[in-house]
């Protein structure tokens, strides 16, 4: 809401600067976004009088104008505007002046002819296209004949004003008007508002002789009032009215339309003007639209109406979407001579729905949605009628046609000083509270610190105790409230074990060289469904902005691949990322709400070991990744060790380079290389990923860390190289060694893997170090040899191993 400071001063006595006022209003309840001084930065722009014009000898569109710029000086100015003519008072930017955008105007020559400045259009001195009157949109602006030559133009154009741009929150719709803001400002400064009385002269002819009005359902239009105005002359509004409109951000159109807009800005009451001769008959009815009924609105769009829409109609046909937009057939035109003026209160919910459905949010509809000042409906109507009478030389017929009417009543709310101080943490006195309510213009009686407050309808946002406490707080001043840290019982502020563990996982991966990523949870249907650990149905939003963000992810890997692809496209080839976040899973397509599960995933592409002068680059491989995953899994301290089982079941993964991670019989995750087909889609080289279901891992049994004393006796090691069939796994060999290694075997460590020369085809050699230790005594060689020979024998029989 743009508030003209000059206009506001007519309603409240104010003498502080606009900035000071803006700051105070902001700190008391309504945020002032900016203060604009329209003339700021402009210099030497004055009224000129065009004495004569003649065509430029060397141009087909320029004119040489003789312009009087002071009582005794006339100069030549070259002008290209199509509407420049002798006899006009115009805006002249003199040599040395500054116009909009800090542009400097100098004396100069245009195609050989001297130009002593510039004749300006409104836009050239800072007006936006939105408010420039249509007649002057493509040419220079013409000032009234009374404008005094040589004087600065700012006063004539309202540019000496200051405009406060107020950001009105939905609860303060009362401030969507000059008068509402005047009340607010008066309360802040302890001033009184003074609004000029409306003087309306009615003709003797009653309006009821030319128009019948009916409201079908009083709920739809609890207050519906029309006036009929005859002998209207449509013409441009006087400059004072146009100034008010454009300073409020509204484009002047013609006198009748401008007056309805002015009244809406002034009183907050939207009005509508119909052309009486175009409504088709002598009846106006407020009713619901019939299903299938059609209406073309002012903007030229056709709408199919429904019984949820309130319309203004004649006998048979809808004319208007009530409170939202007028119809194309009955709007005010230059030919209009009789005007029907409407001031109403419509049911907010229906207005809102209609405006939403047809995408026709307007200043009027948003005011009806949020409510209007019910005490001011008739005043606004009469104020408008009297202005039309004055400015359109018209006659207002006698009487309002008002089939429904409301009697606005004050609302009574109680609150005590004690309660106010209890909520605010203050020590405000009863007298201070009383003074605040009085400044707000509320009726107030007080007994023993308990207030009975009578709130006028112009503050329809106030209904309960909390509303009054807020009024006191803001007028007392938020800056005056003390700052305390509460004295109530202390509470432990601790992360849960689950929250702590998740933070540890993040630290672990970062220490391992992966950076944390946060990807979008809404993605494409395909990406959402890829890399699933478990079967799940997708969850999609009803009305996505784009297919790229339509379906909730069921895996974290797709998002990470998007990230890697984004990096690769920017020549960042070696990237290691992880993400911890939620996936959204559900078993049945009919379920609406998915389960939200915490997952952890990583994706690495390019070189894992970066090449340097002293080491070769090494691309990421399965075993590097497995080392990272094992390190992450170690954070869980599981009582059952995780197993890695080769799998080809993931269609988006490389069938030979992927393992499921099992704990007991639960699959808690997987790792491996992404399928080259997927890699191609994302334009990525060999890329390795893992994904873990943290919910399952967190639910598994974990063991506390138990300290074991460091052994005091030396350990003995034995190395063995086993030649086995290619198909025998390391896991199988290690399991056998551990199962048969005897009581003192403490560790099995694979230190070499070999296949090739010196080994038969189809065979491979694995070399292990076995470590033996007796915590209670020094082991003898003989004890170790016995145990070692036993294991070797089992390996030979169980796995067909030969010792190399």
């Amino acid at each position: 809401m743009k508030i003209s400071y000059n206009w506001l001063k007519e309603y409240v006595d104010l003498n502080m600067s606009a900035e000071e006022l803006a700051n105070k209003v902001t700190l008391t309840g309504i945020e002032v976004d900016s203060v604009i001084h329209p003339a700021a930065g402009l210099k030497k722009i004055v009224v000129g009088y065009v004495e004569a014009t003649k065509p430029h000898p060397d141009s087909d569109h320029l004119q040489l104008c003789q312009v009087q710029i002071s009582a005794d000086e006339t100069v030549q100015i070259v002008c290209g505007a199509p509407n420049v003519a002798a006899g006009q008072k115009v805006i002249v930017a003199l040599p040395g002046s500054r116009i909009a955008n800090n542009e400097k105007i100098k004396k100069g020559k245009l195609r050989g002819e001297i130009s002593n400045g510039m004749i300006c259009a409104l836009q050239e001195i800072g007006f936006s296209d939105d408010v420039t009157p249509q007649a002057y949109a493509d040419g220079i602006y013409v000032l009234p004949a009374t404008a005094e030559v040589g004087q600065p133009v700012y006063g004539y154009l309202g540019m000496d004003d200051a405009i406060l741009d107020l950001e009105i929150t939905p609860n303060r719709a009362d401030a969507l008007s000059m008068r509402g803001v005047a009340h607010e400002v008066a309360a802040i400064y302890g001033e009184q508002v003074h609004f000029p009385a409306v003087k309306l002269a009615e003709a003797t002819k009653p309006a009821s002789t030319v128009l019948q009005v009916k409201v079908d359902d009083v709920q739809d239009a609890p207050s519906y009032n029309l006036r009929v105005i005859e002998n209207v002359t449509i013409k441009p509004s006087p400059l004072w009215l146009q100034r008010r409109l454009w300073n409020a951000g509204v484009r002047p159109i013609n006198n009748v339309v401008d007056i309805t807009n002015l009244i809406m800005i002034d009183h907050g009451q939207p009005l509508h003007a119909f052309d009486y001769d175009q409504i088709g008959g002598q009846t106006i009815e407020v009713r619901r639209a019939q299903a299938g009924e059609k209406l073309t609105t002012l903007d030229g769009n056709d709408h199919d109406l429904t019984p949820d829409d309130i319309v203004i109609a004649n006998d048979t046909t809808a004319l208007n979407l009530a409170g939202v937009m007028g119809g194309l057939g009955s709007e005010i035109t230059n030919k209009t001579t009789t005007v029907i003026l409407e001031a109403a209160v419509f049911e907010p919910t229906h207005i809102r729905k209609t405006a939403q459905r047809f995408n026709l949010r307007s200043e009027a509809s948003s005011r009806f949605e949020k409510g209007v000042n019910r005490t001011d409906v008739l005043t606004a109507l009469d104020h408008a009628a009297s202005l039309i009478a004055d400015l359109a030389d018209a006659t207002v017929l006698a009487g309002r046609l008002a089939p429904t009417a409301i009697t606005p009543e004050n609302v009574t709310v109680t609150v005590s000083t004690k309660r106010i101080n209890q909520v605010l943490g203050t020590t405000i006195t009863t007298a201070e509270v009383k003074a605040i309510f009085e400044r707000l213009g509320f009726g107030v009686t007080e007994a023993a610190g308990v207030f009975t407050v009578s709130v006028p309808p112009r503050r329809w946002d106030i209904a309960i105790e909390a509303d009054l406490i807020e009024e006191v707080a803001r007028l007392y001043g938020y800056d005056r409230l003390p700052e305390t840290l509460t004295a109530s019982a202390s509470t432990p502020g601790l992360l849960t074990p689950r929250q702590k563990l998740i933070r540890r996982l993040a630290s672990n991966l970062e220490a391992n060289g992966l950076s944390q990523a946060l990807s979008y949870a809404l993605t494409t249907a395909d990406k959402a469904a890829a890399f699933k650990l478990k079967a799940s149905q997708p969850t999609s939003v009803d009305w996505p902005m784009t297919v790229d963000h339509a379906t909730l992810r069921m895996n974290l890997i797709s998002g990470l691949l998007d990230d890697l692809a984004y990096n690769a496209a920017r020549k960042q080839q070696n990237v290691a990322l992880y993400e911890q976040g939620r996936v959204f899973l559900k078993q049945h397509a009919t379920t609406v709400r998915p389960h939200e599960l915490e997952y952890l995933a990583g994706a690495i592409t390019g070189d894992w070991q970066l090449g340097a002068w002293n080491q070769p680059a090494q691309p990421i491989d399965f075993y590097q990744l497995k080392g990272i995953v094992v390190s992450v899994l170690a954070e869980f301290h599981l009582t059952t060790a995780p197993e890695f089982v080769a799998t080809a079941r993931h269609q988006d993964m490389h069938p030979g380079r992927t393992a499921d991670i099992l704990v007991g019989n639960q699959i808690v995750g997987f790792l491996g290389q992404i399928h080259p087909r997927i890699g191609k889609q994302y334009r990525l080289p060999a890329t390795y990923v893992f994904q873990l279901d943290l919910e399952q891992l967190l639910a598994l049994e974990a063991q506390l860390v138990v300290y074991t004393p460091v052994a005091r006796y030396p350990a003995i090691t034995r190395d063995v190289a086993l030649v086995v069939d290619e198909t025998v796994t390391n896991a199988a060999l290690e399991a056998t060694i551990l199962a048969h290694g005897g009581a003192y075997l403490t560790d099995v460590h694979l230190f070499d893997l070999y296949a090739g020369r010196h080994i038969d085809a189809g065979k491979k050699s694995l070399a292990y170090t076995l470590t033996y230790q007796n915590p209670a005594a020094t082991l003898t060689d003989a004890e170790v040899t016995t145990a070692f020979d036993k294991v070797i024998a089992v390996l030979e029989t169980e796995h067909g191993a030969t010792i190399r």
Partner: protein, 346 residues
């Protein structure tokens, strides 16, 4: 003095000369063997003691031992000097170019959004708040209805919503967690103090300042004696912890359906310090969070007596905090995960 003693003196003098002149360890060793060995001149002199009288022998023997000790000491001293020189010479050959780069060790970084979340969590944990994580896919009633935003409430327009169906939606803010926690809280165990950080969703087109997904943190403190002064004290403390102790803070009235009185909190612009600049849109102030005293309707909806209990709630944009703190000008960077962006926040 006997001739033997003279001989010994001469040997000592000559030996020390030679020792001093020796310039490597091998030569020194030869000198030692020549002088002090079994076939050396000193041994030979001592053999001549046989010819001395019984009375003469102790004096000469003692003298001979002194000579031997002097020579031994001298050799040892020379040996240490030669060894030190040798090591010094060797180390001089082992000089590195210390300006060559170290072997790269990969280190990941924590996402700046999560750093921001955790910094704020630490502040509130220290004040006795707990961290609660709710649902990203929420029921309409927790996202709106129970927060004093019934259907058709104009304030719903402030937040464009992704709906799954008419009852289920992507949460548009973190307030549903507050409503749920409030419903479950047992006030006989003390006040309820919680913060809830997480992802929220709005039906917005992504650009430099808008994102359909971003992070918020909300918090709530409800008890029997919690005042708006506590709101000011708590939030001032948290803001200064995050943005710096030198920031000026102002509280001004605002509107949220779920609080009354409602507050918006501004901090003095850290670019211009209040003078006015592009960052603060020439106001000198930057809006950082919204808060207020929990609306009685919200307490009632959760089954909490609004006469007995009251308190405050607040909400802030994590992305906005991070953007302000680091001067990040495009919100999309948080979710593109460009490694050149991520790795700056280490």
């Amino acid at each position: 003095m006997s001739s033997l003693q003279e001989k010994l003196s001469a040997l000592q003098k000559q030996g020390i000369e030679e020792i001093k002149k020796s310039d490597d360890l091998k030569q020194l060793n030869n000198i030692r063997v020549n002088l002090l060995g079994k076939k050396g001149p000193i041994t030979e002199v001592l053999r001549g003691m046989r010819d001395l009288t019984k009375e003469e022998r102790p004096a000469v023997g003692s003298f001979a031992n002194k000579v031997r000790d002097a020579l031994t000491d001298s050799i040892e001293t020379r040996k240490q000097a030669l060894e030190a020189a040798k090591i010094e010479h060797q180390l001089a050959q082992e000089k590195l170019d210390v300006t060559l780069p170290g072997t790269p060790i990969q280190q990941g970084t924590h996402h700046v959004i999560m750093q921001t979340v955790e910094t704020l969590e630490a502040v509130f944990l220290g004040m006795g708040f707990k961290v609660v994580l709710g649902y990203e896919v929420e029921e309409e009633k927790y996202n709106f209805e129970k927060l004093n935003m019934p259907k058709d409430h104009p304030a719903r327009d402030m937040q464009d919503t992704f709906y799954i169906n008419q009852d289920i939606l992507m949460r548009t803010h973190m307030s549903p967690d507050e409503a749920r926690t409030l419903e479950q809280h047992d006030f006989s165990t003390g006040p309820m103090k919680m913060i809830g950080p997480g992802r929220v969703y709005r039906r917005d087109t992504d650009d430099a300042t808008h994102s359909h997904q971003f992070f918020q943190m909300e918090g709530q403190y409800i008890g029997e004696q919690v005042t708006m002064a506590d709101l000011k004290g708590t939030l001032s403390f948290a803001i200064r912890q995050f943005f710096g102790a030198e920031r000026k803070i102002r509280f001004r009235p605002s509107y949220f359906p779920f609080t009354e009185p409602s507050v918006e909190v501004d901090i003095s612009c850290f670019k211009c310090n209040g003078a006015g600049c592009d960052v603060c849109k020439h106001s000198g102030w930057i809006e950082v969070l919204g808060a207020g005293m929990t609306h009685p309707n919200v307490l009632k909806a959760a089954g909490v007596d609004p006469v007995k209990y009251g308190g405050f709630a607040f909400g802030l944009g994590i992305d906005r905090f991070a953007m302000l703190k680091y001067g990040i000008d495009d919100i999309r960077q948080f979710y593109q995960n460009d490694i050149r962006f991520l790795s700056q926040f280490n």
